[in-house]
């Protein structure tokens, strides 16, 4: 079998389209990863249930939409609050006792993800469900070489908006200052009178809420089924770990990984692109385990 089996000839317009799709992919991964990045950066907690938070957000959107008839755009902030509250509860009960044991938090959150998947399966059944978007979003941009759906464009815009919102929250509010203080040194921050437990709880809630809102968006993009979380968790982790602990790093790594994935799948196909991408990430991590951008924080 020759290598030519895989590689497609390079054509400009489809390639540019692939780059654009990469941007859409990057925005999806960024939104999925940002909650995880904040949780991991502040608390050092590896939340294996993040994908399931996304899934819960999607199903909550479905419930809000179909049972209560709420507009899609109002659903999103509602889901943010609901899943955020749920995340806060999880943090208080389970995560709180595991701060000294990072590997055990990984396992405990995996247990939570198992429970969530099965609970959703019990409540909603295994057949796929759908979240619908308002009609005016159902357009397609057909712009010489660019083919992109309205929803994906919305996701890109929301990703940028989220980036700015989170940046503002972390760098320009007093709550954000507390988070940064706790991120740098928990003990010292608490010496200065910051209630670190409170900060941890709110941070986890924020991360979970972001995941929930992400779920609402992604649910509209694809169908809802109980296992959908697993499709996001590995990519989200890789984005977080490659990006390093920091907002800007997450943006860079999401863009880089999204574009690389799209480019690889342009030349070969989706699954092989995944294989190459993951191997590259593993090799990258070996040489730079702290990620692309770090603020000089100690490597966890």
């Amino acid at each position: 079998m020759s290598v030519n089996f895989f590689w497609k000839a390079f054509e400009l317009y489809p390639f540019l389209n692939a780059l654009f799709i990469g941007l859409s992919l990057a925005s999806i991964w960024f939104i999925a990863a940002i909650g995880l990045a904040i949780i991991y950066g502040t608390m050092g907690v590896v939340n294996m249930a993040h994908g399931e938070f996304i899934m819960v957000g999607a199903y909550t959107t479905y419930v809000l939409q179909s049972l209560l008839g709420i507009n899609f755009f109002i659903c999103l902030p509602l889901v943010f609050i609901i899943v955020g509250l749920f995340g806060w509860g999880v943090e208080r009960t389970i995560i709180r006792s595991l701060y000294k044991r990072p590997l055990d938090t990984l396992l405990a959150t995996w247990g939570i993800s198992l429970v969530l998947v099965q609970a959703v399966r019990l409540i909603f059944g295994t057949s796929p469900l759908y979240v619908s978007v308002p009609n005016w979003l159902n357009f397609q941009i057909d712009f010489s070489f660019l083919h992109l759906s309205g929803l994906r464009l919305l996701i890109i815009i929301i990703a940028m908006g989220l980036f700015f919102a989170t940046w503002f929250l972390i760098n320009r509010t007093s709550w954000g200052m507390r988070i940064r203080a706790v991120m740098q040194d928990k003990e010292m921050a608490s010496c200065f009178g910051i209630n670190t437990d409170h900060v941890y709880g709110l941070t986890f809630a924020y991360g979970a809420g972001l995941a929930g809102a992400a779920g609402g968006l992604f649910g509209a993009l694809k169908t809802l089924f109980p296992d959908m979380g697993s499709g996001y968790i590995v990519e989200a982790f890789l984005v977080v770990v490659v990006g390093g602990i920091g907002l800007l790093g997450t943006v860079f790594s999401a863009t880089a990984l999204g574009e690389l994935n799209s480019v690889f799948s342009y030349f070969t196909n989706d699954t092989f692109a995944r294989f190459v991408l993951f191997t590259l990430v593993v090799v990258f991590l070996r040489f730079r385990p702290q990620g692309i951008l770090t603020d000089g924080l100690k490597r966890r």
């Binding site: 247990g111 099965q118 699954t271 993951f278 593993v282």
Partner: protein, 352 residues
């Protein structure tokens, strides 16, 4: 001692029970137990939470599947497996050529995963990657291999998997998956590997590995090449997982990307954690217990069972980090201390 009792009991099962379905079930559980032992070794003893034991398991499973498939093919009349014909391959790919010979196929089924683990481990541990990062890297690698197996349909039959039509045959003996022979082979593997691993743990090598688990920096300062020990223990656990993969395909006569799925690898971690990661016996019991209950819960309870398992898992992680077997150890320690107290009283009286 307890180990020998356990294996003696397990070995006697086919003599007592005549149910071939039960034997096959127990063979599967023993494969899972081997996986759990490999996790217990690399995590409980080595301190490396590898979420990618499935890589060795899956690679060996595919190797065995290919060997078994080629046993069925005849070089002259039927040289190419049918799934390849459906994928429009006209010649047997180079990758499959070595599997014409059963001994070579088996060798490869062991060699490839272990070599990969050695290389991958060396890459990680030389860079002093530790803790959570190792878990994520093994996770990513596992996902990568899964994509590979899923995608390369002409080679691996994609998500349909390879189902060799005949049971495995070695030295002229057909090993029927439902026979006591298959069962004894699996239990034999499990027993030998467990006892060898136990000896390894109690050897000097094992002590050093536990030292690197407890504090890698300190071990480095004491002069030990921590990366070397981590790579070796990682590779040995890969070897155990590979044996599990080989026995698995022998017992179920089927291999698919499912064996490279994340849920399989993490389930192995769950069994080891629930049973007791610091003890090989605990890992084995955990695997048998969880899978046994899962199989016999029936469909109705099966749904709820996963939630219960999730909660048990969370509970064990939170409250019983040493697993369920620590309850037994606690009970035994109460008896022990009572006996010690009694003998102490006696000696004191005599001295007076």
């Amino acid at each position: 001692m307890a180990y020998i009792t356990l294996f003696a009991i397990l070995a006697l099962v086919p003599i007592v029970f005549d149910d071939s379905f039960l034997l096959n079930q127990l063979s599967r559980y023993s494969v899972f137990a081997m996986l759990a032992v490999s996790v217990s070794l690399v995590w409980g003893i080595g301190g490396i939470l590898s979420l990618g034991q499935g890589i060795a398991f899956g690679l060996a499973a595919y190797g065995m599947g290919m060997t078994m498939q080629m046993q069925f093919q005849d070089p002259i009349t039927n040289p190419i497996p049918s799934f390849m014909l459906t994928n429009e391959l006209e010649h047997l790919p180079l990758l499959w050529e070595p599997f014409w010979s059963t001994p070579l196929g088996l060798m490869l089924a062991w060699l490839v995963p272990v070599t990969f683990f050695v290389g991958f481990g060396a890459m990680m541990f030389q860079a002093r990657v530790a803790g959570v990062f190792v878990s994520i890297m093994t996770l990513a690698m596992l996902a990568a291999w899964y994509s590979m197996a899923y995608d390369m349909q002409p080679f691996t039959a994609g998500f349909n998997g390879i189902s060799p039509p005949l049971p495995f045959s070695i030295f002229g003996v057909d090993i029927d998956p439902y026979s006591p022979l298959a069962y004894w082979i699996c239990i034999g593997f499990l027993g030998t590997l467990t006892i060898l691993t136990k000896l390894l743990i109690h050897s000097k090598f094992g002590l050093i590995v536990q030292a690197t688990r407890d504090d890698a920096e300190r071990a480095r300062f004491l002069g030990y090449n921590v990366a070397y020990y981590q790579v070796v223990v990682f590779a040995i656990s890969g070897f155990i997982a590979a044996c599990a993969g080989i026995c698995w395909v022998m017992v179920v006569q089927y291999v698919s990307p499912t064996s490279l799925e994340l849920s399989m690898s993490v389930s192995a971690v769950v069994w080891a954690a629930v049973g007791g990661r610091l003890s090989l016996m605990g890992a084995i019991l955990g695997a048998f217990l969880v899978n046994g209950i899962q199989s016999y819960m029936g469909d109705e309870l099966q749904q709820v069972w996963m939630i219960i398992l999730g909660f048990i898992f969370i509970g064990v992680v939170l409250f019983l980090p040493k697993g369920l077997i620590s309850i037994f150890e606690y009970i035994f320690s109460i008896f022990d201390s009572k006996i010690i107290k009694q003998s102490k009283n006696q000696t004191e009286n005599e001295a007076l």
